[in-house]
Structure formats: C-alpha cells, structure tokens
C-alpha cells in the first residue's frame, strides 16, 4: 500500500481528501503508483501525465522523503519509505503563479 498526496485541484476532481492509498502491481515505481492511482480514480487520467505518452505534465512535480523525484525515470523504484507506506509520494503543482 502506497500513500499519495494530491494537489488541491486534483483532490477536488477525484473527490478525495488530503491523502489516498493505492496498491500498485509489481515493483513500487512512479509508473506503477500512477497506474494504480489512475485505475482507482480514472478522472485523473491525463491530469498528471499525458494520455498516450505517459510523460509527466511539465508543471507537475513528484517529491518524496524530501527529495525531488520529478526527473527520475518512471521505472526507477521509489524510496523504501514510500514503498513501505511510511512516507507519501507527493504530487505537486509547480509554483508558477496564476
């Protein structure tokens, strides 16, 4: 079980609270966590990563354990603390005004 914290707009869209939990299939990576997140909340498809290419949207970032994981390969395992459910994966909207 992996904990994911979503930005406010995506919480509203998915009608969830501050934090959700998902159960990825296989190794705990950005890709498997986002696959599980989108499977549980289909309304989030296309909002964090693009349809088709599955590339992270440019103004979305991924933080965990006080590290910026935005530029990690989607297939790299997430930190152990995230995989164990001790720390959440933070999906963050970039600070860009507006």
């Amino acid at each position: 079980m992996v904990r994911v914290v979503l930005p406010q707009h995506l919480r509203t869209l998915a009608r969830v609270g501050d934090e959700v939990t998902v159960t990825p299939i296989g190794a705990i990576t950005q890709k498997t966590v986002l696959d599980a997140l989108e499977a549980t909340y289909p309304v989030l498809q296309g909002t964090i990563r693009d349809h088709g290419s599955f590339k992270r949207r440019p103004f979305v970032r991924f933080f965990a354990c006080e590290r910026d994981l935005s530029h990690e390969s989607p297939d790299v395992p997430l930190p152990e603390a995230v995989a164990r459910g001790e720390e959440p994966l933070l999906v963050v909207g970039a600070i860009a005004g507006g």
């Binding site: 509203t12 296309g46 909002t47 349809h51 909207g93 507006g98």
Partner: protein, 371 residues
C-alpha cells in the same frame, strides 16, 4: 414565462446566471470548477439541461464536464483527444515547422438535434466529435489533413479552432474558424474540408491574399439566413453571402475594425454587433470608452451603443467567445470582459447594464433561452 440562462466561463471557474424573461434580476451560482480555466460552456439546443464545459489548466491539462440538469450537478467525461494518424507539423510563430500538440479545448458545439452529439474545437487546431455525450472523442481528420495544415500558424492566443457553426438548414454543412489559418467549410458532414478565405486581406502574412494564414477571430451566422456569414478578423469586419465562398469588407464607419467578438440579432439577420478594440497590441477599447457597435444593414453603417457602458477609464478586452444573444423579443445581447463584468441589454443593444461585475476575467459567454 420564458427564462434565460447565461453560461460564463472565466479564468478561475464557471458561473451560471439566471433570470426570468424580463431580464432585470439575476441569480448567480458559482464558481463551478473553482480555480480552473473554463474556456467554454454550451447547452444542447435539443435538451437545454444538457450542458458541456471545457475545464482546463496549465498544470493539470484538460478535463471535460457534462451536466444533465442545467448545471446543478456535473460529471466528468472523456478528456482524451488523440489526433488521427500522423500529426505532422504546422508553422511556429517564426515560420519554422512545429509538431501538432494537443493543449486544450477552446469551443464546444452541441448538435442541433442530438444532446449526446457534440463537437470540440481544440488547440492545436483540429475538430473532434463525440456521439456518446462526451465519453469518447474522435477527430474529423479531413480538416487538419486536407493539405494546407503545414501553413497554419498560431495567433497570440495559440493555434486554436475557436468557432464551429452547424448549419441549421443543411445537416452536412459545418463552418469552422482557426486562428491563424482562416475559415473552412465541409459540405459532407466533416469528411472533407476546404478553405473559404477568398476576399480576406491580411498584411501580417507574406502573401496578404493567401488561401490560408488569416487570423480569423470569430464568425457568426444568422439562423434564418445561413448562407450569410459575418466575420471579425484580426483587423477588418467581413461579410459573405455565399456560405464563405467570397468575402467583402463591411467595416464601414467603425472607429477601429480590430476586435474579437461578432454576433447576430436572433430575429434580424442584417443586425450585427461588434466591440471595437483599439489595436492588436492595445487590447482595450478606444479612448477608454466601452462601446458596442451595431449595424442594422449587415455592415458598413455602424452605430455606437454606449448607454449603460463605462465611457471613461475602461481598459478591458472582450474575448472572441464572450458575446451571445438570447432569442426573446426583444432580443437580448450579452458580453463578458476581461475585467470580470458581464453586460446585458434586454432591448437589442439600446441600453446596457452589468448583470455581474466582479468575476474573474471572462473567457466565454453563452446564452440559453428556456421555455
């Protein structure tokens, strides 16, 4: 008694304004989809309770919303807009090739007959269609692929398909307009398209009378006379009486013929409205005076309408999808500004009042006349 529902899309959410047929007192609900840009909302002519909305964000992309109860509640529908086949390139601002990329939905046009059928005009320019209430979207690829696509280029707002007109008398005829490519028409339900820009003259492209490349800002069509079209181009107000095969300029005595919106009176096909804007680098009214100009002769002879509109220190813009009309008698005219006001006239433009004053910047205004 008839009622009127105004659907306003803004930079930070959607607002719905309702009134009875007198159009004096207005109730406002919103913001719906707070914090998101609502590029456009439009109700189905076949079922006014069915409303579609384009919800978009630079951060989180495109979301599509649908209401089946007149905007009281909403459900998300499909947001996957995948171009058909090889996407190829269009021109970038500097003329270099640039790959086609989906950015957002600018305009939604529900079918005149079927509430579950709706067209979407998107950036980068293409037209999509859904026949299941917005769950799945498929491109009508004949438009983007008809041959001139590599010559299209973005206007300042992006390379958007912003106007879709469904011909009320010929179900296979559709008009679209793209900034900056021009106007296009299909006569076979969207399979094949042709540019309809003959007569347009644009100094900002290398060949001013080129087949494509014109920055058309908006087209309007009188329902009772659908072969007549009115166009607000980047500069110039134009008119066609042959379904776009040829255009003539009807700017006439306008103080400036730059602008974004243009619309037609619901019952008088020769009565049209524009909001002149000073220039393409000064997106505000001339001399700080917000004025709608009306022509009762289908162009050329224009009259300033200013009663109830600010006549000093007004520096707002009126964007291309932000004017609409109701179908009551007298015809109501509505427009929204980047300053957050929505102005309405219940007497075809003679007098105006603000029915909302402090909204976020208004991107689009649509009006439903309800029985």
């Amino acid at each position: 008694m008839s009622r009127v529902r105004v659907l306003a899309g803004t930079r930070k959410g959607a607002f719905i304004l309702t009134s009875d047929g007198k159009r004096k007192k207005w109730d406002i609900t919103g913001p719906h989809f707070a914090g998101w840009e609502i590029y456009h909302m439009k109700g189905s002519p076949a079922d006014p309770d069915r409303i579609y909305a384009s919800q978009t964000s630079g951060w989180f992309g495109q979301v599509m919303q649908r209401s089946s109860d007149g905007g009281k509640s909403w459900e998300t529908v499909g947001n996957k807009f995948a171009y058909e086949g090889t996407t190829g390139t269009h021109q970038w601002y500097d003329g270099t090739p640039h790959p086609w990329e989906f950015k957002r939905v600018w305009h939604l046009e529900p079918s005149l007959k079927d509430p579950d059928t709706v067209y979407a005009g998107i950036e980068d320019a293409a037209i999509f269609k859904s026949t299941d209430g917005g769950k799945e979207w498929a491109e009508l690829p004949g438009l983007r692929g008809h041959g001139t696509g590599p010559k299209w280029q973005p206007g300042a707002g992006g390379m958007c398909l912003h106007t879709i007109l469904l011909d009320p008398k010929d179900p296979k005829r559709i008009f679209v307009a793209i900034s900056a490519a021009g106007a296009f028409r299909t006569d076979d339900g969207g399979k094949s398209w042709k540019p309809i820009n003959k007569g347009l003259y644009s100094k900002y492209i290398p060949e001013p009378t080129a087949e494509v490349g014109h920055c058309v800002h908006r087209i309007a069509q009188p329902k009772s006379k659908p072969k007549t079209l009115y166009m607000q181009k980047h500069w110039d107000v134009m008119r066609s009486d042959d379904a776009g095969d040829s255009w003539t300029e009807v700017s006439g005595n306008l103080p400036t013929d730059f602008g974004f919106v243009i619309d037609v009176h619901a019952h008088e096909p020769e009565t049209i409205y524009v909001v002149p804007i000073k220039s393409d680098s000064e997106h505000y009214p001339l001399d700080g005076k917000l004025q709608v100009f009306r022509s009762k002769t289908g162009g050329n002879e224009w009259q300033a309408l200013k009663k109830g509109l600010p006549q000093k220190n007004c520096y707002v813009n009126v964007l291309r999808d932000a004017m609409a009309v109701d179908s009551l008698d007298k015809c109501g005219i509505y427009f929204g500004t980047t300053g957050g006001q929505i102005y309405a006239s219940a007497d075809a433009g003679d007098e105006w009042s603000a029915i909302a004053r402090d909204l976020p910047a208004v991107l689009s205004v649509e009006v439903q006349t309800l029985k």
